[in-house]
């Protein structure tokens, strides 16, 4: 066991528990906080994958902006815990978990198990660096990049339209 493995195990455990927390927490604020932790740990998982730029972007975009928005909305609307509660005896609970288990076992047997021996190549200098991402973003992926910017613009307009007070 080296440091890297320990780090991975810790991070993935944190991520998984935080993920469970998102689903199981009664109060939306706690769900949101769990999600923050989840995303933070995913960001650090990115770091372990040597995707520094993506990790920091993950923190900036998800943790710094999106989750703050979530918290803001939850607080602004003062959403309490599910008044009706999460029905433990909800008819959908059991089938949903069943489906999840089925899918997990199916994929892990069919996909994850064969991939277990996958080699871990030594990354080049500059893998995941801002230069590499920038270069491919502005050369090969410039069209999707522009489309994404338009999408963001549309998103802004849509959000303003949806959220503004009716006159």
């Amino acid at each position: 066991m080296q440091g890297r493995e320990i780090l991975f195990i810790v991070l993935s455990l944190v991520a998984c528990f935080a993920g469970l927390g998102v689903v199981l927490a009664k109060h939306p604020i706690k769900s949101a906080l769990s999600l923050v932790v989840n995303m933070f740990s995913i960001a650090f998982l990115y770091f372990t994958l040597e995707a520094n730029m993506l990790g920091i972007t993950q923190i900036m975009v998800y943790v710094g902006a999106i989750m703050v928005l979530f918290l803001f909305v939850v607080m602004l609307l003062n959403i309490g815990s599910d008044r009706s509660g999460m029905k433990i005896l909800d008819l959908k609970l059991v089938p949903a978990i069943l489906i999840a288990l089925l899918m997990f076992s199916l994929i892990s047997f069919q996909v994850l198990y064969p991939l277990f021996g996958m080699q871990y190549p030594v990354a080049d200098e500059g893998f995941g660096s801002p230069e590499a991402i920038g270069k491919s973003l502005f050369s090969q992926y410039v069209l999707p990049f522009e489309v994404a910017s338009v999408l963001l613009l549309v998103g802004i307009v849509g959000a303003i339209l949806l959220a503004r007070r009716k006159a």
Binding site: K92, I99, M103
Partner: protein, 744 residues
């Protein structure tokens, strides 16, 4: 061919010539109202009018430049130029460039269009000066000139079609210029729709030429080039067509007849030939300068131009040529007879135009294409003169168009009167005036035609010739009738006839009559004031303050100088134009040489069997006699003013004249057959097809989908979580399927 290297400037001059009017139109359309706002209405309109005139005048100047430097320096038969600008359509097998073709025929038309066009622009600046939508008028007018230039200058059939449709559009817009009056809008629609029939013919003609070229020499369905001859994909351009057609048509003479007739249908629509002439008289609803420019001098002659351009096809088909001349003859007689029943001065001129167009087609039909163009030119001079003169009269007479209200206008409008008299003399064929020369040429061509034009056992050419003589009689008769009714000094029943209209207080009456018009807007059953009301409708709404109705205190005044100048110029052209063009057979040599490719005429055409030597020798006397007969009839009947038989009370009219007034019921029976018949037919179709077949199918699908909806609505329960649940179930199944190797 002259080498083009010394004439590089031609390339840009030609496109500039075409673009100038469009630029003018653009300016008028974009900045017309702005100019009026900025400079005030009066000076703004002065600027707009002069600009409109300048743009067209520049084109005319460029055309003159081309004539001076090219056509006067070189023999006509080498003056053929092709200018390619850019590709419009570029496919593997078809390339349609925007290209211009300059030859004697097209430069003749260009001179005519821009020359007469700029004169009429000049005239219009005064005529339209108090119309509310000055710049719109000039937008259309400039655009018309531009499209007309495209039509005559284009080097391929598609571009010709663009010009063809463009002038049709402008004609439509200008007929319906005063669109607030429903009658005008209807007239515009009529012109447009009737022209569509002709355009369909033209399109079919173009298609069949393309088909013929393509199927005979082109590329077969497998994509293989059958003959190496057609490697140039510009096979809609004239130079290619004319190079290939003769050999094809020699082997397929029936195609020649079919194509020629289809093209002729196109020409019939645009040039108002017999069944399709009905739109032209109604087109007089537009402003008078428009009638002069579009519906007398230029656009309606584009049919003749087409025949001249494509004359190769016609020369391969004597039958089609015979049909052309017969249709022309029928039109000439028919319209001339109708003209006798008309009391509206512009309608008389409209029918006269139709009749003269028939004349031109007669000439083309007997094989004398250059004569057709000759008559186009002279007719443009004197008919534009007559229309503009009538416009001047209408202008002076408070927009009254009924000749029965005129009389004795010599006293008030001497310049207009003299000019119109020259025009009348010219159209009637008084010797030495321009109409005389062209009419003589037509008759001459008919009698000495070399065509074996034997249709159903009748010697068509000779028949057409005699018809021409008859039409000459009729023409001089109705033209002098018009002139005498308008200007003639009545010998017997005294005064000017508008003095009989009771006087009325302008403003009071005006509001009253406007109210009346408002209440019974489209009911013109009381037809004494038919035209009066119509004019009121069309003009009254625009400038009710300035124009008053005609009444007995009206004093006609001579029109502004800018209009008089135009009249005088055109009068001079009407006097000397024909002689000038005819001397030393100038025009004949000039036009006959115009073709992109010279080809050997088919042998069938050389054989001539009819013998009209006697007639030809005495033709001059015959035609002079014809003019004299017509003129003396008119003098006898109309020199004493308006005869009782043609007065305001139409019950006293003769049956023939009443019949002619209605256009021999042709128009109304057309609408009855096609309008009502079509309605009944479609009603039947609606009952059978729509009710049972289509509705049944549609209802079946509706019922089917509603049944399906009933079946599937269980799943549509609005519960998002349920949807997601089902979705994940489906994903599971899909993953299972994929992992099981289902995609292999």
């Amino acid at each position: 061919m002259i080498s083009l290297e010394n004439y590089n400037w031609l390339h840009s001059v030609i496109i500039l010539m075409v673009l100038m009017p469009f630029l003018g139109a653009l300016f008028q359309a974009l900045y017309g109202k702005l100019t009026e706002c900025l400079l005030g209405v009066k000076s703004g309109r002065w600027l707009l009018g002069s600009l409109a005139f300048t743009f067209v005048g520049t084109s005319f100047g460029l055309a003159l430049l081309v004539v001076k430097d090219i056509f006067l320096k070189h023999p006509a038969d080498v003056c053929c130029f092709r200018f390619t600008y850019f590709d419009w359509i570029n496919l593997e097998v078809l390339r349609v460039p925007v290209e211009m073709f300059l030859d004697p025929l097209s430069i003749t038309m260009v001179l005519l269009i821009t020359g007469v066009g700029s004169l009429i622009h000049l005239y219009s600046t005064a005529y339209m000066s108090d119309d509310a939508e000055y710049s719109r008028f000039f937008t259309y007018l400039n655009m018309f000139i531009g499209f007309m230039l495209i039509l005559v200058l284009s080097n391929n059939l598609l571009l010709l079609f663009v010009g063809w449709e463009g002038v049709g559009l402008c004609s439509y817009l200008l007929i319906g210029f005063w669109y607030k009056n429903l009658e005008n809008a209807k007239a515009a629609n009529k012109a447009f729709i009737v022209n569509r029939i002709g355009d369909l013919g033209l399109l079919l003609g173009i298609f069949s030429i393309a088909f013929l070229l393509h199927s005979t020499y082109g590329i077969n369905s497998a994509g293989n080039v059958i003959t190496p001859q057609i490697l140039d994909p510009r096979w809609l351009s004239y130079d290619i067509i004319f190079g290939l057609l003769p050999s094809i048509l020699t082997s397929y003479p029936d195609y020649a007849t079919a194509i020629a007739l289809l093209l002729f249908v196109g020409a019939m629509g645009k040039s108002a030939q017999f069944p399709l002439y009905v739109w032209l008289p109604d087109a007089m609803a537009g402003p008078t300068p428009v009638s002069a420019l579009i519906h007398a001098a230029t656009m309606v002659t584009s049919g003749i131009f087409l025949l001249n351009r494509m004359h190769m096809v016609f020369e391969f088909s004597p039958y089609a040529s015979a049909i052309v001349s017969v249709v022309g003859a029928i039109t000439a007689v028919w319209a001339a007879l109708i003209a006798f029943g008309q009391t509206d001065i512009k309608k008389v001129l409209a029918y006269s135009t139709v009749s003269q167009l028939g004349y031109m087609f007669m000439a083309c039909g007997v094989g004398a294409y250059w004569v057709g163009m000759f008559h186009v030119l002279t007719h443009a001079f004197f008919k534009a003169l007559l229309f503009l003169g009538s416009g001047a009269v209408i202008y002076a007479m408070a927009h009254e168009q009924d000749m029965r209200r005129y009389g004795n206008l010599w006293r008030y409008l001497p310049v207009t009167g003299i000019c119109m008299m020259i025009g009348t003399f010219a159209i009637a064929g008084i010797p030495l005036l321009s109409g005389f020369w062209s009419k003589e040429a037509i008759l001459h061509a008919a009698f000495e035609s070399s065509y074996p034009a034997n249709l159903l056992g009748v010697d068509v050419a000779t028949l057409v010739g005699w018809t021409g003589v008859f039409v000459a009689i009729l023409t001089s008769a109705y033209m002098f009738r018009m002139h005498l009714l308008t200007f003639g000094i009545p010998f017997v029943n005294g005064a000017e006839r508008w003095r009989l209209i009771p006087a009325h207080d302008h403003h009071h009456h005006h509001s009253e009559s406007e109210g009346a018009v408002e209440s019974e807007k489209y009911d013109f059953s009381d037809d004494t004031f038919n035209f009066y009301r119509r004019e009121l409708c069309s003009h009254g709404c625009h400038h009710s303050d300035e124009h008053h109705a005609l009444d007995k205190n009206h004093e006609p005044k001579e029109v502004p100088y800018s209009m008089q100048v135009v009249l005088v110029i055109l009068a001079i052209l009407s006097i000397f134009g024909g002689f000038f063009l005819h001397q030393h057979h100038f025009l004949e040599h000039f036009l006959s040489s115009s073709s992109a490719v010279s080809w050997v005429k088919p042998e069938i055409l050389v054989d001539s069997y009819h013998d009209n030597h006697g007639v030809l020798e005495s033709l001059l006397y015959i035609s002079i006699l014809a003019v004299t007969i017509g003129m003396s009839y008119a003098l006898i009947v109309y020199s004493r003013g308006l005869p009782e038989k043609e007065g305001y009370n139409e019950e006293k009219w003769s049956r023939f004249r009443l019949f002619a007034k209605d256009g021999f019921m042709f128009d109304s029976s057309l609408s009855r057959i096609f309008g009502r018949g079509g309605y009944k037919l479609s009603e039947g179709f609606w009952y059978v097809f729509d009710n049972f077949l289509i509705d049944g199918i549609v209802n079946m699908f509706g019922k089917l989908s509603s049944i399906c909806g009933e079946m599937t609505r269980f799943f549509q329960n609005g519960n998002i979580r349920f949807y997601i649940f089902m979705m994940s179930l489906a994903i599971l199944v899909i993953i299972f399927y994929i992992l099981k190797g289902g995609l292999n």
